[in-house]
């Protein structure tokens, strides 16, 4: 029989090959939208660039949007490995009462629903970059009036766009740019991310070149730090009346069809928005430590809201639980609060920086006993895996078990000895520990399922302050024929942390659950996405608690080709 095996195998392969279904349509993917800004209450046209979207039929957005035309990029030059992208022209109409800000937009195709990209609605007029090259002062784009928002694109490597405007002595103008692509170093970016930078010039000439413009201000972004804006925000007070030029370019000179930008001119000083704080965020310096925090945490731990509000103090003697507010206004300054612990207690110390936060203000908190010995700090220490060198970082929260009653002091200072500023404000909360669910993450932006297929998504959650309850995860509003099933996936082993036994003071225990979304073989295809809702709740003492987190995920059942 042995000799027959290859023949049989070949035959089976041939049969399988002959029965292979036609290829499935690609998952639609949006790469960029240009322009991605428009005035609220108006209609405007945008072009979406992406892959698998040439069959787009409709748009999912809270704005009114429709597909006007579909096209494909010109084929690349011979020898290029670049694949031409699909171009979809959309007409966007926003209601007069549409809220300025970001509005997500997805395309719906026979292959399913796409990822989301934002459209920015502005309260004032939006001007499109005129055709042509604007990379010299002579070809600068005139700014008609302020405030104004421009939309433009850096279409080629090394390109920059100049804008020209008049400013008066003493006038303050804010220039703020945003890109349609993630900046380098920010989440989801790569080396081709678009990180715009701005430079302001005046006429002035030089002995060498009477037409030379002189740079009077430059701003890339206020700070380059993880979790912060990557986008430039330049506020300038003009010393003299005259003509000025603003140049926008990509930080590393990149350019291409996705390098779309928005540029705002405001006739006053404006603050750049801080990244929105995650209301359930536990570990960020910008989260709000409100006087109601004990109830908030209790609720996230499945307990009733029956706690008192927390008192707010200045540095000095305090009663726990306490919020202590202060500022490290002078270099080298430290501030202290004193409190009494009557018996063994597990406490948590949380730090919020309402104004300046890391890397500008880097608060160090030390808990000292009555002898002045350091009991705990908010500094997480470890040893580097490669060199073994000690590494340290400041944390926004530390939990401390106190076993010795007595007088304690909490001290706040800046990491550096030389920096201090009235904006170095802090709110410090010292409280008993409250077991609860901390940060909760739900993967997946959208799900497209063919009948008979399954996809998994993960839900990760932190057990804060020794939360030992169960966690319930439910999925609501699934389309017909689709189920969400509890499941498990492979989780590789991880090395024990180098600081085993210490690390839990700073980092919570993180667990994950897996949900499998399955479409029955007979599941009817959908033409519109169903907005499934994933909900996470704690379960304590046999009872489900309030919703700790939820997320809507658009799901479509895509017909087999």
């Amino acid at each position: 029989m042995r000799v027959l095996w290859p023949i049989l195998l070949l035959a089976s392969v041939t049969v399988v090959s002959a029965q292979q279904p036609p290829p499935r349509p690609a998952d639609p993917k949006l790469l960029s939208i240009h322009p991605f800004a428009g005035q609220a209450g108006t209609s405007f046209t945008v072009t979406v660039r992406g892959t698998g979207i040439k069959t787009a039929t409709s748009v999912q957005s809270d704005l009114e949007a429709s597909v006007e035309a579909v096209d494909q990029e010109a084929p690349p030059a011979p020898g290029s490995r670049r694949t031409p992208s699909d171009l979809v022209r959309l007409k966007i109409t926003s209601a007069p009462d549409a809220k300025p800000g970001r509005h997500n937009l997805r395309l719906i195709t026979p292959g399913g629903i796409s990822n989301a990209l934002p459209i920015h609605l502005t309260p004032h007029a939006v001007v499109s970059e005129p055709d042509g090259i604007h990379e010299t002062p002579e070809t600068a784009i005139p700014v008609p009036s302020l405030p104004t928002t421009f939309t433009g694109r850096i279409t080629a490597k090394g390109e920059s766009d100049f804008f020209v405007f008049e400013a008066h002595e003493g006038q303050t103008i804010t220039f703020s740019a945003a890109s349609g692509l993630p900046g380098i170093g920010s989440a989801g970016s790569n080396a081709n991310g678009f990180d715009p930078s701005l430079a302001l010039y005046e006429l002035g000439g030089s002995w060498f070149d009477p037409a030379r413009i002189r740079r009077v201000a430059f701003n890339d972004e206020p700070l380059w730090f993880f979790g912060r804006h990557q986008e430039p925000h330049l506020v300038h007070r003009f010393q003299k009346t005259g003509k000025y030029y603003l140049r926008l370019e990509a930080f590393s000179g990149q350019g291409g069809p996705d390098y779309s930008y928005r540029l705002d001119f405001f006739p006053r000083e404006t603050q750049q928005d801080r990244p929105p704080a995650d209301p359930s965020g536990e570990r960020g310096f910008s989260r709000l430590l409100s006087t109601d925090r004990l109830n908030q945490l209790a609720e996230r731990g499945g307990k009733p809201r029956d706690r008192k509000s927390v008192e707010t103090y200045n540095p000095g003697p305090v009663q726990l639980p306490a919020i202590i507010e202060g500022a490290i206004a002078e270099p080298g300054q430290s501030q202290r609060a004193h409190f009494q612990i009557d018996g063994p207690r597990d406490i948590a110390i949380e730090i919020q920086t309402p104004s300046a936060d890391p890397p500008l203000f880097n608060p160090v908190v030390r808990l000292l006993d009555s002898r002045g010995e350091e009991v705990a700090t908010n500094i997480l220490v470890g040893r580097g895996a490669c060199t073994g060198a000690m590494s340290k970082s400041i944390q926004a929260k530390v939990i401390v078990p106190i076993r010795n009653p007595g007088a304690y002091t909490v001290e706040v200072r800046d990491l550096t000895a030389d920096l201090g500023d009235p904006s170095f404000r802090y709110r410090l909360m010292i409280r008993q520990q409250i077991p609860h669910l901390g940060n909760i993450g739900i993967d997946e932006d959208h799900i497209n399922l063919f009948p008979g297929d399954a996809k998994t998504t993960r839900v990760t959650f932190d057990r804060e302050e020794d939360f030992r309850g169960a966690v319930a995860i439910t999925v609501e509003s699934l389309p017909p024929g689709v189920q969400a099933l509890p499941s498990a996936d492979y989780e590789p082993d991880k090395d024990a942390p180098l600081t085993a036994g210490k690390r839990e003071r700073f980092n919570p225990r993180t667990e994950r659950a897996v949900i499998a979304f399955t479409a029955d073989p007979t599941a009817p295809p959908t033409t519109k996405p169903a907005m499934a809702r994933v909900v996470v709740r704690p379960i304590v003492d046999g009872k489900p608690g309030a919703v700790a987190a939820s997320k809507q995920i658009p799901i479509m059942v895509v017909p087999q080709p």
Binding site: E135, T136, K157, G158, E159, S160, I184, G185, A191, N192, G204, S206, W207, F208, D209, R212, R214, R215, F218, D220, L223, W224, F225, R247, E249, A250, F251, S252, G253, Q254, G255, G332, P358, P359, L360, N362, V364, R366, E374, T377, I379, L380, V381, G382, R383, A389, M390, K392, S393, I394, L415, T416, A417, D418, L419, L498, T499, K502
Partner: protein, 831 residues
């Protein structure tokens, strides 16, 4: 009588046949000697009508007014008893008198460091090539120049082998002295050649040094009084600091030691002399310098714990009718005084075109356009040069260029600034802001030295996104701001300088608390754990040899008082910017940019064995810089308005060989970035720069239109074949640009894109001129003005016309002409 003639003739020859002796002086003119046994060397210096002074010590007749008080051996007086006397020198009918007072001071107590260490130094035993080397030699380790007499005493009297990385003594401890049989001490038998000695014979058995050493052993090898820390020598003075002498002339040096208690002693016969370039002038063991050929060399003088130097200039024949040159400022006064002393006539003032090109390149790294050149050449304003300097100093091109220059020194580069392009950009912007606002240099230095937190100036402390090691960081800061290289002392006491390993690590300790938390640079308090106990960690810097914690100590050996939670670098920054080295190093670095060599050269290699060519000028410049708020622009104006800076590069017969005295401008290669910009300006075809870190193979972006090479913030970000070939440094270390041509450059000139491809570009300067119908003459003139800041000479023009006439294709011929211009040395050099 005939055999005497040569001897009689020698002084006459040396003096020049036409010169007459005008006066005779004795040095020192007054002396105080401390008790019997003390000695003093005298010099007799004759001044001649040709303006030259000559050492006639050995030809002079010396007499004492009171022979009972002193004894003469040539021109060296030994005190016999207390009292006052006159020493008279007579030469060729002239005489001079020195007043000598001898006190009845008791004999000086014995000091091991001075008496024994002095012999070991003078005889070269503790030189770097011998027992003063890193590991010592032949099993005996001595400190270089007897800098550490206690250590030397231990090794000599107890023996044992020194180890570099530990204080443990290796080998059997066999003393170098034999108390029972002093004459058999290795300390005596080796240097006298009685026993085999790798260093050869150093002195004779009947010498004074042998007698002193033997007596010390016989006395039981006492250590005596501590010398260096108490009443020890604090400084040496060598007179003259600049000795000029004709070829074959001789000149004796006088060395005076200044002691901590304020008194001085003659040390002329207790030091070791060495010439840096003995083919120019050699020096014997008695300090007698003999000139061999024209030039200048340093004569180094070493004694226990001290090194000093003098300059020996071998000068040409006296110049009758030496021209009077009026100084523009103090620079000229000092430069021209030395030129006069060295019989070098400064070159003429540079022509306007030459000056224009030089000052534009030096202040802005940019060639002026032809229209400006025509305007400047045509101007008859007597103050046009000064006005131009003011214009350039206020120009945006100045900001561009000096940002670029300091980006070299301060090392703006991705790898040097945390591996983050954003950080190197921020650091570059910090430098630009300092240049644009002309921020006082001491403030810049203080901020860079002590920066904390996330500020741009902190980014240079985190190469490869790690805090740099304290030794490396300290050595770099000292090199940048003090112009000194301490690196050798990291592993052992510096073999040539007075920098000890302890001093090195004391300085390194200022950087020893530095810590990176996330992206923040902090100085970790030493009185707070900050969770260090979690990993049993400590914040301390250990001495590599003693393995004990080191504490901040200034370079002068004094301990710094730094609070446990303070930033030690702030204290260091205060101390460094107040130290004379700071201004000295800064002005020398700037001087080096403008004159192609520093007064100390290399500009960041100050050391006793590399003395300044113009010490007083260096001191005056530093004082002026300090006194005027460390104002860089002012310093540059002072330098560029000096006549010395504005001299022509064309030498005359007297100064052709001079490369150190600024008697004429010295041509040097234009830096790669400036040259590339110049090529782009002349041809009218700008360069494009691709953003790439992989040798240009996978560019991710491109610098915006109008970007010049000197605008590029980071060499790691923008690959350029031309810039690599022409020596753009990577800034992996403090750059040292050699400017030396190489074969690859020649090939690039012949076939490279920079030179060849540009010439055929449709928007080039040539294309535009051809399109406008310009004549050959007009084109020749335009390109000469654009590239060389001068019009072609009549002969040049005629030759060009002839060559062009032989070409069938006019455009091709003109392209060849432009290629020849931008490939020429005249174009590629700043002169």
């Amino acid at each position: 009588m005939k055999f005497l003639l040569p001897f009689l003739a020698l002084p006459l020859l040396a003096a020049g046949l036409d010169s007459k002796m005008l006066s005779l002086k004795i040095y020192p003119s007054t002396v105080k000697l401390s008790g019997a046994g003390s000695t003093q060397q005298f010099l007799a210096i004759a001044n001649y009508s040709d303006g030259v002074e000559r050492d006639v010590t050995s030809e002079t007749a010396w007499t004492l007014s009171h022979p009972n008080l002193g004894k003469l051996a040539g021109a060296r007086l030994s005190a016999l008893a207390g009292g006052s006397l006159n020493l008279t020198a007579r030469f060729q009918g002239k005489q001079a008198i020195s007043r000598v007072e001898i006190t009845n001071a008791p004999p000086r107590p014995f000091q091991f460091g001075r008496d024994i260490g002095g012999i070991l130094t003078k005889r070269g035993c503790n030189s770097a090539a011998c027992h003063g080397g890193v590991k010592g030699r032949g099993g005996l380790k001595l400190s270089a120049n007897a800098l550490y007499p206690k250590d030397d005493y231990e090794w000599i009297t107890k023996g044992g082998i020194y180890q570099v990385l530990t204080t443990q003594v290796a080998g059997d401890r066999v003393p170098r002295v034999n108390i029972a049989q002093p004459e058999k001490s290795l300390l005596l038998t080796k240097p006298t050649g009685v026993e085999a000695h790798g260093g050869g014979k150093r002195f004779d058995i009947d010498s004074e040094d042998y007698r002193v050493l033997l007596q010390w052993v016989k006395n039981g090898t006492p250590y005596g009084e501590e010398g260096m820390g108490g009443s020890g020598i604090v400084a040496f003075e060598v007179w003259p600091s600049i000795a000029t002498l004709p070829v074959q002339g001789v000149r004796r040096l006088l060395v005076t030691a200044r002691f901590a208690d304020g008194h001085s002693e003659d040390y002329t016969h207790q030091v070791l002399y060495a010439s840096n370039e003995s083919d120019i002038a050699s020096v014997n063991a008695e300090g007698l310098v003999t000139a061999h050929k024209l030039g200048e060399t340093a004569i180094l003088v070493r004694a226990a714990g001290q090194v000093a130097s003098a300059v020996a200039g071998v000068i040409g024949p006296p110049i009758p009718g030496y021209p009077a040159v009026s100084p523009a400022n103090f620079i000229d006064t000092q430069v021209f005084a030395k030129l006069r002393q060295f019989n070098l006539i400064p070159s003429e003032l540079s022509e306007d075109g030459e000056f224009l090109r030089r000052v534009c390149l030096d202040l802005t790294g940019t060639l002026p356009p032809p229209a400006r050149t025509r305007e400047f050449l045509a101007s008859t304003d007597p103050r046009k040069r000064e006005k131009l300097i003011d214009t350039l100093l206020a120009s945006p091109e100045y900001n561009d260029y000096w940002t670029f220059r300091f980006s070299d020194v301060f090392r703006v580069a991705i790898f040097a600034n945390g591996l983050m392009p954003k950080w190197s950009t921020g650091y570059s912007e910090w430098i630009r802001n300092n240049i644009e606002t002309n921020r006082p240099y001491d403030q810049v230095a203080r901020e860079r030295l002590s920066a904390q937190g996330y500020s741009p100036a902190t980014r240079h402390f985190i190469p490869y996104n790690q805090i740099g090691t304290p030794p490396d960081t300290m050595a770099e800061e000292v090199r940048v701001f003090f112009g000194r290289r301490l690196d050798c002392a990291q592993c052992h006491n510096h073999p040539y300088e007075n920098w000890s390993q302890d001093q090195f690590w004391g300085m390194a300790a200022f950087f020893g608390r530095m810590f990176k938390m996330g992206s923040i640079v902090v100085d970790h308090p030493v009185n707070m754990d900050w969770s260090s106990k979690d990993v049993d960690g400590k914040i301390e810097l250990l001495h590599p040899r003693t393995k004990s914690a080191v504490h901040p100590m200034y370079l002068d050996g004094s301990a710094a008082q730094v609070a446990a939670d303070a930033n030690p670098r702030k204290e260091l920054a205060r101390w460094m910017t107040a130290h004379p080295y700071f201004a000295e190093a800064a002005v020398n670095r700037l001087w080096g940019y403008f004159f192609a060599r520093g007064i100390v050269d290399p500009v960041d290699d100050f050391r006793s064995t590399n003395p300044p060519t113009h010490p007083e000028l260096l001191a005056t410049l530093a004082s002026d810089f300090r006194g005027n708020g460390y104002n860089l622009r002012r310093l540059m104006k002072t330098i560029t308005t000096s006549r010395a800076y504005q001299l022509s590069h064309r030498p005359n017969n007297t100064n052709r060989a001079d490369l150190t005295n600024y008697s004429h401008s010295v041509a040097r290669a234009v830096d790669a970035e400036v040259l590339l910009d110049a090529v782009a300006d002349v041809t009218g075809v700008p360069e494009t720069f691709a953003t790439s870190v992989t040798g240009g193979a996978s560019a991710i972006g491109q610098a915006p239109a109008g970007t010049r090479a000197i605008h590029l913030k980071d060499p790691d970000m923008y690959f350029s074949r031309f810039l690599e070939l022409y020596g753009r440094p990577s800034r992996g270390a403090i750059p040292e640009r050699s400017g030396k041509p190489n074969l690859a450059q020649a090939l690039h000139m012949l076939a490279g894109a920079t030179y060849v491809d540009r010439l055929g570009q449709p928007n080039s300067r040539l294309a535009r001129m051809l399109e406008s119908g310009a004549t050959d003459d007009r084109i020749f003139e335009e390109f000469y003005l654009a590239s060389l800041m001068r019009l072609p000479g009549a002969d040049e023009k005629a030759e060009l016309k002839q060559i062009l006439g032989q070409r069938q294709d006019r455009t091709a011929g003109l392209r060849e002409f432009i290629w020849a211009l931008i490939s020429s040395r005249e174009f590629a050099e700043n002169h």
